[in-house]
Structures are given as structure tokens and as C-alpha cells.
Symmetry: C2
Subunit: 206 residues, 2 copies
DNA sequence: CCCTTGCTGTGAATGATTTCACGGTGTGAA
DNA sequence: TTCACACCGTGAAATCATTCACAGCAAGGG
């Protein structure tokens, strides 16, 4: 089944799924690889390769059956049960991200939040209690949490990351503009606004 | 000079620069390729290749001279004069991003902001007047703006993108979770929180 | 002064990813 | 029925990116 699917394929599959959900909502029942490709800025051959990797298949005449495809992709991407996510740092960005994700990902739920500021802990934020960061080591394992979103100041990011790793977290979405050092087996995805902006600035002149 | 530098190299160069600025601030005068590599999660050979591409060079005994290297990278990455950036959509995320970027990038300045909501236009936000989106077509060309940050609702993103392209924008940092259609020559960098989260979720289980 | 060491710069090799190209197939039109 | 068409699945080719490996060199030690 899953021989090996590259990180890039996983990202594209996630994009395909989002498009397929929209397409399904607007009534599409079948789609060709090139429809998916143009909607996700890639090529038809690429789409077919990616879908081949998760062994879904379409028919030559109609293309891919949207509902089936959605099932295949979700079966591949999603955990059998919803995954729970911790959010660390309830500042400007942390609160915006929290509000944004509520209800958006049925199978990814922010169930624990942490901060160090006593003004934020012991309060409900989006109906979710905010814990003190020092409880992280206890709470994450007992809640079976393996993923975290990190929105603390850059200076704190590595310290908190070390706590997360000790707490058993294996996937981190990091918003701080720093390189995080983690042991092998821990996946870090850094959302680096500055680097993206500079890259866009560069190519806006090319 | 610049034969061709790949997008990935540009991203890494931007990362190297950020690290070098930190290193310089903490007193480093010379650094080896492997120092830069470990600080940016890449390999020493990769660093040397990237620096070769912008024809900077180090010495075998001391490595790279930090100040010189910073000058080379900045000369390569930055426009001769500071670039001006437009920010479209002053909602939760737009305001957070604006506050975040103030003073952070000396050569990239958000000088125009736009919204469609009359409650936001005609007001100063971070000392910068917010214009009505319909003035975009006039104002961007007269201010020589070629880059935009897009933080409008997903439903509006394509419409606004079309306006931006008509207004002469050639680089867009897009925060809306949609694929933007742009003519060739326009660079789009989508910061896709959902895709990143799903990718991290996937690999946190692998 | 010469040897050792550990670095840079870079051609060549390797590895990863994308694209090409085509056989096989179901569909609709004549 | 038969043909033309357009698409899927996929091996092979091409392209792109990274790593290897080593010549050449500067510095420090004996
Ligand atoms: N605001 C933005 O638009 C933006 C954009 C890009 C990146 N970022 C990055 O995101 C991070 C957060 O930005 P922000 O604007 O929300 O900052 P912020 O200062 O508003 O929020 C940081 C939060 O982290 C908490 N915190 C501090 N140390 C902590 C610790 N050790 N453990 C737990 N919580 C701790 C603080 O109490 C605060 O609530 C920063 O690294 C920043 O560079 C922010
Ligand atoms: N808030 C988050 O943490 C977050 C995270 C990831 C992605 N996003 C994306 O960022 C975008 C903005 O999110 P938000 O939470 O700030 O939403 P928001 O509703 O708070 O802000 C949107 C802003 O855009 C303005 N706007 C609407 N239509 C416009 C138009 N045609 N022209 C100009 N301005 C217009 C609105 O007046 C409002 O000020 C959305 O696409 C969202 O999906 C947000």
C-alpha cells in the first residue's frame, strides 16, 4: 500500500482534497486529472502520479469519481480518529489562528492551549481553557496529543520546543522566525512570513 | 552574474541572511559553511553551492567573512532602493501581519493599505492611511508598488488579485486558502495554514 | 621549512521529482 | 458496428536538486 509518498505529494494531496470538497459542494460528481491540476497549479500527469501513489483510480471516460477520491485521500491523509492539537502562545497570532481553525478541520482539533502569562491562563478562550505552560509535560501525554502549533515569541521557541518534544509531540507547526532543533522523527513545519515575503519581493522583480 | 538562481536557493539565502544578522549581532566575524548549515537545517555543501551561485567566496582557513557575506546576499536579494508593499484586507490577520512587519524589514515597507469596509478606510492604522479598495488601480502604479500581501476573505481573493494584477503588482503573498490564477510573470506565494497543518499532522504519525 | 589539518570551490555522481509518451480502454457519433 | 477521441495508468526519459569527493590552499605546529 504505502510504499513511500513524498512530502510534496502529501502537500498536493491535501490541496487536491480541498479543491475536491469545493467541487463536490458545487455539484461535480466526476473530474478529470487536468481539472484537478488547473485548480491546484500543477500538471495532469502530476495529479495522476500522486493519485497512483495512494492507489486511487479513475476511468478513462469520466475521470475520477469525486466522492470516492475524497474517501481515498482522506483515508490516506487522516488518522483513523480525529487528532488533537495543542496551541502554545495565545498572543495576537495565536488567538487569530485559534479562531481561524475552529470548525475548519473536522479531524484536527485544538483541544489544549498553553501560555505563560497568568493573565491568559485560567481563562476560557474560544471555550477552551488555557493552561500554564508548565503543565504541558503532564497534559500532552494524558490527552494523547502528538501535534502542536507554536505561536510564542522567537526567543522562547526553542525552549518550548524542547518541552514539547519531551512531552511526546512529533509534529510542530512553528510560526516563530527561527530554526528549531528537534530530534529525528519530529516533523517541523515553519511558517516563515519573512522568508516568504522576501522571496516574493525577489521574484516580483525577476 | 546571475545566470539562474532557483527559488529554493533564494529562500535559503534569505534564511542565511537572517542567521548571519543574528550571528553578527552576537559578535561573530567569520563563519564556516557548516556553521551556517546547522543554523539553517541544511548541509555545508548546500551552503557553499548557494553562495557560489551569488559569487561570494570565503577563505579556507577562516571561512566566510560575515559582514562581506551579508553585503553580498543583500546585494543579491534586495532591490537597489527599498521596495514598497501594499496590504489588502485589514481584518484580524491583516492587522497582526501589519504590526508584525513594522520595522522588521528595512527594505520592504508596507506603505499602502486597502480595505472595502468603510469602517476601516479613512482611518490611520499603524500611522498609515487605509484606502478604499477601488483606489487600488490608481494608487499602486503612482506609488511604484509591485508587491502585495493579501489578507482578504477567500471568496474575495481572486477578485482582488485581478485588480492587483491590473494595477501592476508582480508579487503576491497570499494568506487566503485558495489557488490564485495570475498571468505568467506574476509570482504568488501562498501561506497555507491548513495545508501546513495537515502535512504536519500526517508526518507526526509517520 | 615542511607537514598536517581542515576548509573552500566545484566537477561529477547521485537522488528526487516531474514530464513525456504511449498502450489500453470506455464512450459517443456516424 | 466501427471509428475517432480523450483520458487513465505507467515505464522511461528528462529535468532539477543535493551530495560526494577531491584538488588546492592558508594557517599553525614542530
Ligand atoms: N503577529 C504576527 O502577525 C506574526 C507574524 C509572523 C510571525 N509571528 C511570530 O509568531 C510568534 C507570536 O507572535 P505574536 O504577535 O502573537 O506575539 P505575542 O507577544 O502577541 O504573543 C506571544 C504569546 O506567547 C506567550 N508566551 C511567551 N513565552 C511563553 C512561554 N515560554 N510559554 C508559553 N507561552 C509563552 C505570551 O504570553 C504571549 O501570549 C512570534 O514568534 C512571532 O515572531 C507573528
Ligand atoms: N485569521 C487567521 O488566523 C487566518 C489564518 C489563516 C488564513 N487566514 C486567511 O486570511 C484571510 C483573512 O482572514 P481574517 O481572519 O483576517 O478575516 P477578516 O474577515 O477578519 O478580515 C478580512 C478583511 O478583508 C476586508 N475585505 C473583504 N473584502 C474585501 C475586498 N474585496 N477588498 C478589500 N478588502 C476586503 C474585510 O473588510 C476585512 O477587513 C482569509 O482569507 C483567511 O482565510 C486567516
Amino acid at each position: 500500500m504505502s510504499v513511500h509518498v513524498s512530502e510534496r505529494s502529501v502537500r498536493r494531496l491535501s490541496l487536491y482534497r480541498r479543491f475536491l470538497l469545493h467541487a463536490q459542494a458545487s455539484g461535480s460528481c466526476y473530474l478529470f486529472s487536468h481539472d484537478i491540476a488547473t485548480a491546484t497549479r500543477t500538471s495532469a500527469a502530476q495529479v495522476r502520479r500522486d493519485l497512483m501513489a495512494i492507489s486511487s483510480s479513475g476511468t478513462a471516460s469520466r475521470g475520477y469519481h469525486v466522492a470516492d477520491l475524497l474517501k481515498s485521500i482522506s483515508h490516506f491523509l487522516d488518522a483513523p480518529a480525529p487528532q488533537h492539537v495543542a496551541l502554545i502562545g495565545l498572543g495576537n497570532l495565536g488567538r487569530a489562528v485559534f479562531a481561524y481553525f475552529v470548525g475548519r478541520h473536522p479531524n484536527l482539533r485544538i483541544t489544549l492551549t498553553f501560555d505563560i502569562d497568568p493573565a491568559k491562563t485560567c481563562r476560557l478562550i474560544n471555550g477552551c481553557p488555557c493552561h500554564n505552560i508548565h503543565e504541558l509535560n503532564d497534559l500532552c501525554p494524558t490527552h494523547g496529543i502528538r501535534m502542536a502549533i507554536l505561536t510564542v515569541p522567537a526567543t522562547e521557541a526553542q525552549t518550548v520546543t524542547d518541552m514539547l518534544v519531551r512531552g511526546g509531540i512529533r509534529g510542530i507547526v512553528n510560526f516563530a522566525p527561527v530554526t528549531l532543533y528537534v530530534p529525528v522523527g519530529v516533523f517541523v513545519e515553519t511558517m516563515d512570513f519573512s522568508i516568504s515575503l522576501e522571496t516574493a519581493a525577489f521574484f516580483s522583480r525577476a
